[in-house]
């Protein structure tokens, strides 16, 4: 169920990215999409009422495996956040440059390239 919600959020981001005409709104759409992916990755490793994945002396290995949440997706999420930070920063920088050139954020007004 929660996975579906993450997927719906992903689609909302995709919809915003494709249909919006304002550069900033497009960027926000991309951000929503990337956060939906991060949420999904976290949910993959989540366990309801699970322990933090730190093993101490009082636990056996089996007990640890059966109760702790999966730490791997959390590591993936951190990496993926850093990567999306890089691409979003570049996106915003280019959007600002475009604004300096054309004086508008509306892609309908600045689109000179033809398909």
């Amino acid at each position: 169920m929660l996975y579906t919600l993450a997927f719906v959020l992903f689609l909302i981001g995709l919809y915003a990215t494709i249909t919006k005409r304002n550069l900033i709104k497009i960027i926000i759409g991309v951000i929503i999409m990337e956060q939906a992916v991060n949420l999904f990755l976290l949910l993959v490793g989540y366990r309801m009422g699970g322990l933090a994945p730190i093993m101490d002396e009082t636990m056996t290995l089996e007990e640890f495996v059966s109760r702790a949440v999966d730490p791997l997706p959390q590591a993936l999420v951190i990496t993926s956040i850093v990567i999306s930070l890089g691409s979003i920063a570049l996106m915003v920088a280019i959007a600002i440059r475009i604004y300096e050139k054309y004086g508008t954020y509306d892609i309908a007004e600045i689109r000179r390239l033809r398909g």
Binding site: I26, V30, E34, L72, P73, T79, S87, I98, K101, L113
Partner: protein
């Protein structure tokens, strides 16, 4: 074998240090020399990797736990294509980029892109593949907008948004694959899926749909191609050569090959999607190229069309593989990879020449050119070689790879597909002949009387690539075939061999 990490580490180091050199030696040639040294080393290593087979364990962790670099037939051949073209592009840009001030930044981004591509080819881990994919993509987004004019920035933004959508689809697919198998190591994933037997269920179906959209966006297959003509024509010429020549093939086609043949295994639906996605790309790319007046845009549309050939050959190979006709499937896959090598060399050559012409005449508009054969004989000659090879005229390399794909399609019973392959070849010849007629033949217009031949450094790179346009055809001769092409089709045919090699079983 233990040197294989240098293929990623050297360009990554170059990407870090070369921009710093801008601060200290703004005028010196040290940056160019360093760039040459790095690409020369990686090219030599790539050729050496033909003799290497096996894995390199990062920090000594064995496969299921740590990330490992894998060298097999497919990755060795891919490495040679990428690094050899990178070397020629660096030689070319040492002259071409001379007038632009921040060469250190240019080389920095260039090497980040190269490190990303080498990483994508070598890595044996799904998430690591995504990380390298993003390194290469982000560097290429910035390079597309490197000229910072209005059109370049627009093209970079479009590419950036569509590229980010593609990356999000890929990482979603990686997450689904982890949820389905509990592994990120490619070899372990393929073993787990093989133990469960056939298909892998609905989750794997959804996963492959995500990968198809994600990698399809990176490879510019037709429903997802909108960014490519803008991005590839706005970038500086050496970068266009890298983007069209190798980047779309590494991030798109190679990932499709690796994921669909070695990791999740190809199914009937995926194979058909690849065939028809390839077919639509071929036809639409060629039709859109016919009407283009801008030389670089025409080349960009031609790239969409030619990548369609490669993807269709992959689909035909996969479909035949499922029917159990391994010999013909092997031929189709071999032809597809052969065409990938040829197209990389030819398209890099044509984009480099488009840069030389733009610099000499000040325009990219075909109708404003004319008679360039008289003014720039060497550039004219190399362009002619590239055009003939890409259009598939007999002694040139492009003819042989197209012939192999068409023969495999006919033997496998794919008649409509074979007809499309032949029809698009004719169309390709038509629009490239228009380039030759408008730009190179005929009288020299007054405006172009003072045009001179491109500098020697730039011609060195294009002449090597033009020799490749003839010489690469020899790759299919017995002897050379066993060295490069045969191992590639073997890797793709025996999907599980990859897993056994990595895990040593």
């Amino acid at each position: 074998m233990s040197l294989v990490f240098l293929l990623v580490a050297l360009p990554l180091g170059g990407g870090f240090f070369l921009p710093l050199l801008d601060k200290f030696w703004e005028e010196s040639r040290a940056k160019e020399l360093l760039a040459w040294a790095i690409t020369l080393t990686t090219t030599v290593l790539a050729f050496l990797s033909l003799g290497w087979r096996g894995i390199y364990q990062m920090s000594g962790w064995p496969p299921p736990i740590g990330i490992n670099l894998v060298v097999d037939g497919l990755s060795a051949a891919m490495l040679i294509v990428v690094n050899a073209i990178a070397l020629l592009v660096v030689i070319y840009s040492s002259k071409y980029m001379e007038d632009w001030t921040p060469t250190g930044k240019f080389y920095g981004l260039f090497f980040l892109m190269l490190a990303g591509m080498n990483g994508v080819i070598l890595t044996g881990d799904m998430f690591n593949l995504f990380v390298f994919l993003e390194i290469a993509s982000i560097a290429s987004y910035a390079l597309v907008g490197f000229r910072r004019g209005g059109e370049e920035l627009e093209a970079a933004f479009k590419y950036l948004v569509l590229g980010s959508i593609g990356s999000s689809f890929v990482i979603f697919g990686v997450g689904l694959l982890y949820a389905a198998t509990g592994n990120l190591n490619m070899a372990r994933i393929s073993l787990v899926l093989a133990e469960r037997g056939g298909g892998g269920g609905a989750l794997i179906g959804i996963t492959s749909a995500f990968f198809l959209v994600g990698f399809g966006l990176k490879a510019a297959l037709v429903p997802f191609h909108a960014w490519l003509p803008d991005a590839h024509s706005s970038a500086p010429a050496p970068i266009s050569a890298m983007l069209s020549g190798v980047l779309i093939k590494v991030l798109g086609v190679y990932c499709l090959m690796r994921v669909f043949f070695n990791v999740i295994g190809i199914g009937e639906v995926q194979a058909n999607l690849l065939i028809w996605g390839g077919a639509i790309s071929m036809v639409l790319g060629a039709l859109l190229a016919v009407g283009q007046e801008d030389f670089k845009r025409l080349l960009a549309y031609s790239s969409i069309s030619q990548v369609g050939y490669i993807v269709m050959a992959l689909g035909i190979g996969g479909s035949l593989l499922l029917r159990g006709e391994e010999a013909i499937a092997g031929l189709a896959l071999l032809g597809g990879f052969f065409h990938l090598i040829n197209h990389a060399a030819n398209k890099a050559l044509l984009f480099l020449n488009s840069g030389a012409i733009e610099e000499a005449t000040g325009t990219r508009d075909l109708s404003k050119m004319g008679g360039l054969f008289h003014r720039m004989p060497l550039t004219g000659m190399t362009t002619l070689f590239g055009v003939l090879s890409i259009a598939g005229i007999p002694p040139f390399a492009g003819f042989w790879s197209k012939l192999i794909i068409i023969v495999a399609a006919l033997w496998g019973g794919f008649y409509p597909e074979a007809a499309i392959l032949i029809a698009v070849s004719v169309l390709t010849l038509a629009y490239y002949m228009r380039v030759e007629r408008e730009a190179f033949f005929g009288p020299v217009p007054d405006r172009l009387k003072s045009v001179r031949e491109a500098p020697a450094m730039m011609n060195l790179a294009t002449v090597v690539l033009a020799l490749g346009a003839i010489g690469l055809g020899a790759l299919y001769l017995p002897g050379l075939r066993e060295l490069v092409l045969q191992p590639v089709s073997q890797v793709l045919l025996e999907g599980l061999r990859y897993a056994r090699m990595v895990l040593g079983g």
